[in-house]
C-alpha cells in the first residue's frame, strides 16, 4: 500500500509540474470566462441595429406596413423604396453595391405575389443570422396576414388583438417538485456535463496511456518491476493521473463558481453592463445530487477507460504505435458522443435509456440524462451496477495484459497472444 502511495505521489507531482497542466489549468477558466462573455458580446452585437431597405414593387400597402412594423422595438431598421417591376433590377444592383460597402445589411423585395402567394425575397450579408431572419419572417407574415384580413374586411383592431404573441415558460420538474431552473438551463447543464465528461475521460485516459508508454520506451519499467508489482504500478498510475484530473477540475469548479458569483464584475471588466438574463446564457442551478452523480460516473468511467488505455499502451512499443492502437478504445467513447443529440432531445427515450445501461456509454449517457430530466433511482442503480461489474472485469483483463506487455518489446501482440497473456 505504501508503495502504491509512492507511485501515486510521483505521478501527481510530476504531472502537476508539467507545462501542459499549468497551461490547461489556466486556460480552463479563461475559456469559461469566454463562455460567459462571448454570448453576451454576441447579444450585444445583435443589439446593434441592422439597416435594410424594403424594395417595394407591390401595388398595395404591404411595403409601408412592413416599414411601420419594423419601426417598433426591433433590431432591424428599414426604409422603404418604392419601385416598379421594370426598375427593380437596376435598383437592386445599386443596393448590392451598398451592401458590398457595408453601408447596408441587405434588402427585402416585396411584390404583389408577397400578399397573394406569400413569396418574398431577402438579400443581404446577414442571412446566416438566425435571429435577423426570424425577425424579418415574423414581420413579413404579420404584414401579409394583416393585409389579407384587411382585404377581407376584418377590422384593424381585431387583427391587432389577434396577433398578441403567446409566451410560454418551460420549467422542469425534478423529484416531484417544480424547480426554479428553466428548460433551457437544464439543456445547458446537460450540454456542459457531456462536454466535461467526454473531454476529461478522454484526456486523462490518454494521459495514463502516455505515462505507461513513457515507462516502457524509457525502459525504466525494468527497474520499477524489480521492486513493484505490476498491479501496484498500474493502480498507482491510474489513481495518480485521476487525482490530477480531480485536482484540475476542482480548480476549474472553484473558479467557475467564483466567476458566476462575480459575473457582474467580470462583465464590467470587459466593459459590459450586466444584461438582465435576456440575451445572456441561462445559468443552470447545479444541485448536490447532480454533482455526486457526475463525480461518481466520472470516476467509474475514468477508471474503466484508463485501464483500457493502459492495456493498449502496454502492448505498444512507442507513442506513435499506441496512438494508432487506441482507436478502438476511443471509438467506444465516441459512440455515446455521436448519439448525444438524440439523448438531449429525448432523455427518457429508448435510445437514451439503452445507452445509459451499456457500461462503455453509461459514464457519459447517464449523467447527461440526469442533468436533463429526473431519472428513476432504479435505472441509476442498474446502470451503476452494470458499470461496476464491467469495471472489475476490464481492470482484471487490463492488469493481466499490462503485466506481460510492459516487458515485451518488438512485434505487437495479436489477439491470440493477448488471449494467452490473459489466461496465463
Amino acid at each position: 500500500m505504501r508503495k502504491i502511495w509512492v507511485v501515486i505521489r510521483r505521478e501527481f507531482v510530476e504531472k502537476v509540474r508539467t507545462k501542459w497542466f499549468i497551461l490547461s489549468t489556466v486556460l480552463g477558466p479563461v475559456m469559461m470566462a469566454a463562455f460567459i462573455v462571448v454570448p453576451m458580446r454576441m447579444a450585444e452585437r445583435d443589439a446593434t441595429e441592422r439597416s435594410i431597405r424594403i424594395l417595394d414593387a407591390s401595388t398595395s400597402e404591404l411595403g409601408r406596413r412592413i416599414e411601420d412594423l419594423l419601426a417598433g422595438p426591433l433590431p432591424v431598421r428599414a426604409e422603404r423604396i418604392g419601385v416598379t417591376v421594370p426598375e427593380m433590377a437596376d435598383v437592386a444592383d445599386s443596393l448590392n453595391a451598398l451592401v458590398g460597402e457595408k453601408v447596408l445589411d441587405g434588402y427585402l423585395i416585396v411584390t404583389d405575389a408577397t400578399a397573394s402567394e406569400g413569396e418574398a425575397e431577402y438579400r443581404g450579408s446577414n442571412v446566416s443570422s438566425h435571429a435577423d431572419m426570424q425577425v424579418l419572417e415574423q414581420v413579413l407574415s404579420e404584414a401579409v396576414l394583416t393585409a389579407r384580413l384587411a382585404r377581407e374586411g376584418v377590422d384593424r383592431a381585431v387583427v391587432a388583438w389577434a396577433q398578441i404573441p403567446v409566451r410560454m415558460r418551460a420549467v422542469s420538474i425534478r423529484g416531484g417538485e417544480v424547480t426554479e431552473s428553466s428548460g433551457q438551463a437544464a439543456f445547458v447543464l446537460a450540454y456542459v456535463v457531456w462536454m466535461l465528461l467526454y473531454l476529461t475521460i478522454l484526456v486523462y485516459g490518454v494521459q495514463v496511456m502516455g505515462a505507461v508508454v513513457e515507462e516502457k520506451t524509457s525502459r525504466v519499467i525494468e527497474v520499477l518491476v524489480s521492486s513493484l508489482r505490476p498491479f501496484q504500478l498500474l493502480a498507482g498510475k491510474v489513481v495518480g493521473v485521476g487525482a490530477v484530473g480531480l485536482f484540475q477540475m476542482s480548480i476549474w469548479g472553484v473558479s467557475a463558481w467564483w466567476l458566476y458569483r462575480n459575473r457582474s464584475l467580470v462583465l464590467e471588466l470587459f466593459g459590459m453592463p450586466e444584461a438582465g438574463g435576456s440575451g445572456g446564457l441561462a445559468f443552470p442551478e447545479v444541485s448536490l445530487d447532480t454533482l455526486v452523480i457526475v463525480l461518481a460516473y466520472f470516476l467509474l468511467g475514468y477508471f474503466l477507460y484508463a485501464a483500457m488505455f493502459a492495456a493498449v499502451a502496454a502492448t505498444s512499443n512507442s507513442e506513435a504505435e499506441a496512438r494508432q492502437a487506441q482507436l478502438p478504445v476511443v471509438m467506444l467513447l465516441i459512440v455515446p458522443t455521436l448519439l448525444m443529440l438524440g439523448i438531449l432531445q429525448e432523455p427518457d427515450g429508448a435510445m437514451a435509456v439503452t445507452l445509459s445501461l451499456i457500461p462503455f456509454c453509461a459514464p457519459i449517457a447517464m449523467p447527461v440524462r440526469w442533468a436533463a430530466v429526473s431519472v428513476p433511482a432504479a435505472e441509476v442503480a442498474a446502470s451503476l451496477a452494470v458499470l461496476a461489474v464491467t469495471l472489475v472485469l476490464v481492470v482484471w483483463v487490463a492488469a493481466r495484459i499490462y503485466r506481460v506487455g510492459i516487458l515485451m518489446h518488438g512485434k505487437r501482440p495479436g489477439l491470440a497472444d493477448l488471449m494467452r497473456w490473459i489466461r496465463a
Partner: protein, 320 residues
C-alpha cells in the same frame, strides 16, 4: 568461507517460444562473494538475472534468495538491481528520480533524500541534481542509474553488464565503488561478456553458454586446474624450426601462432623447460617465454569452442 548461500538456483529452465534461453542452470552464490556470470551475448545471462529478480518466472526449477522462498521483488529493499537496459524517467530531476526509486524499494523519504544527496556528491553530480535526466549526457545518466541501484544500501547487488556505456575513467570509478561495497560486506552478482573484467573483480565465476553451465567455481581454482600449461612466446623472426617444434603434438596440444608471437597450450605432463631448451638449441631467438595461467577467456574458448563463444543473433535478440 562460511556456508551462507545468498542466491541458490536449482536446475532452472526458461523457454521462450522456439528455444531454450536457460537450461537446468544451477548456481550458488555465497554471502560476501563477488560472483561473475560470464558468457557471450545471448548465453542467457540477462534471462537468469531477470528470473532471480522475479521479473520473469522460470518454467522449471527453484530459486531461493537469502535462504527464503520469497521473490526478488519482496526483498527489493535488500537488493540493488541494475538492468541491462538502462532507463530512467527522462523528464524527472536527478534528485527526485533517485528519491522515488529508493522509495519504491521501501526506503523512507527522509533517508532516501539524505542518501541521494550523499551519492550525488560522491559521484560528482552535485551540479546536476536539479537537472532533468534528459539533459544529462549518457555517461552521467549511467551514473544516476548506478546510484539508484546502490542508494538503499542493499546487501545484494545484481548488476547486468554494469560497466557498458562508461568511458575508461568512469568504468574504473564504478569498479572502485563495487569493490568498496563488496569490502563492506555486500554480495555482488554481475554479468559480463568481457572476461577480463570478471577476471579482475570476481572471486567466483560461472561461465554459461547457450543457457547451460560450462564452468563454475572459484577463479583461483579454475585457473589452477586449467592453467600452468600455457606458454606465451615472443621471438625475433619466425623460423621453420619453430613451426616444427610447435607442431609436435606430443608436447604442444594447441598453438595460436603469429609470425613473432604465439600462445601455446602444452599437453598434460609436458615440461615447458624442455620446450625452451629445444628452441634455444634450434637457434630460435627467444625474447620472451612466459609460463602462465590461462585467461578466463582462453579457458572459456577452449571449453566451448570458438563457435559457441560467439553470439547467435536470434538468441541475443531474445535475451534483450
Amino acid at each position: 568461507m562460511v556456508h551462507d548461500p545468498i542466491i541458490e538456483l536449482d536446475r532452472v529452465t526458461k523457454q521462450y517460444s522456439g528455444h531454450t534461453a536457460v537450461r537446468d542452470l544451477s548456481l550458488n552464490v555465497q554471502r560476501g562473494a563477488v560472483y561473475g556470470l560470464l558468457g557471450p551475448n545471448g548465453a542467457g545471462k540477462t534471462t537468469t538475472l531477470r528470473m532471480i529478480m522475479n521479473i520473469i518466472v522460470p518454467d522449471r526449477g527453484n530459486i531461493r534468495l537469502f535462504g527464503s522462498g520469497s521473490a526478488g521483488r519482496d526483498l527489493s529493499h535488500m537488493i540493488g538491481y541494475l538492468p541491462e537496459e538502462r532507463g530512467l524517467y527522462r523528464k524527472m530531476r536527478v534528485f527526485d528520480v533517485l528519491v522515488f526509486l529508493a522509495e519504491t524499494k521501501g526506503v523512507s523519504r527522509r533517508v532516501a533524500k539524505e542518501q541521494a544527496s550523499e551519492w550525488i556528491d560522491k559521484l560528482g553530480l552535485g551540479d546536476w541534481s536539479r537537472t532533468a535526466v534528459n539533459d544529462l549526457s549518457k555517461g552521467m545518466q549511467q551514473k544516476v542509474q548506478f546510484i539508484a541501484t546502490v542508494l538503499h544500501q542493499p546487501e545484494l547487488l545484481i548488476l547486468d553488464e554494469p560497466f557498458s556505456g562508461f568511458d575508461p575513467v568512469n568504468t574504473q570509478r564504478m569498479k572502485d565503488v563495487v569493490v568498496e561495497l563488496a569490502h563492506r560486506g555486500a554480495t555482488v552478482l554481475f554479468s559480463t561478456h568481457i572476461m577480463e573484467q570478471a577476471e579482475k573483480l570476481c572471486d567466483s565465476v560461472c561461465i554459461i553458454s547457450r543457457g547451460q553451465t560450462v564452468l563454475d567455481g572459484r577463479v583461483a581454482e579454475i585457473r589452477r586446474e586449467h592453467g600452468g600449461r600455457t606458454v606465451t612466446l615472443s621471438v625475433d623472426g619466425g623460423s621453420e624450426a619453430l613451426s616444427r617444434l610447435l607442431a609436435d603434438r606430443t608436447v604442444v596440444a594447441r598453438a595460436d601462432q603469429y609470425p613473432q608471437y604465439a600462445e601455446l597450450e602444452l599437453v598434460e605432463g609436458a615440461d615447458p623447460q624442455r620446450l625452451l631448451a629445444a628452441m634455444v638449441q634450434e637457434g630460435v631467438r627467444v625474447r620472451r617465454f612466459e609460463v602462465g595461467e590461462a585467461s578466463l577467456h582462453k579457458i572459456f574458448v577452449d571449453l566451448v569452442g570458438v563457435d559457441a563463444a560467439t553470439p547467435r543473433a536470434e538468441e541475443a535478440e531474445q535475451d534483450a
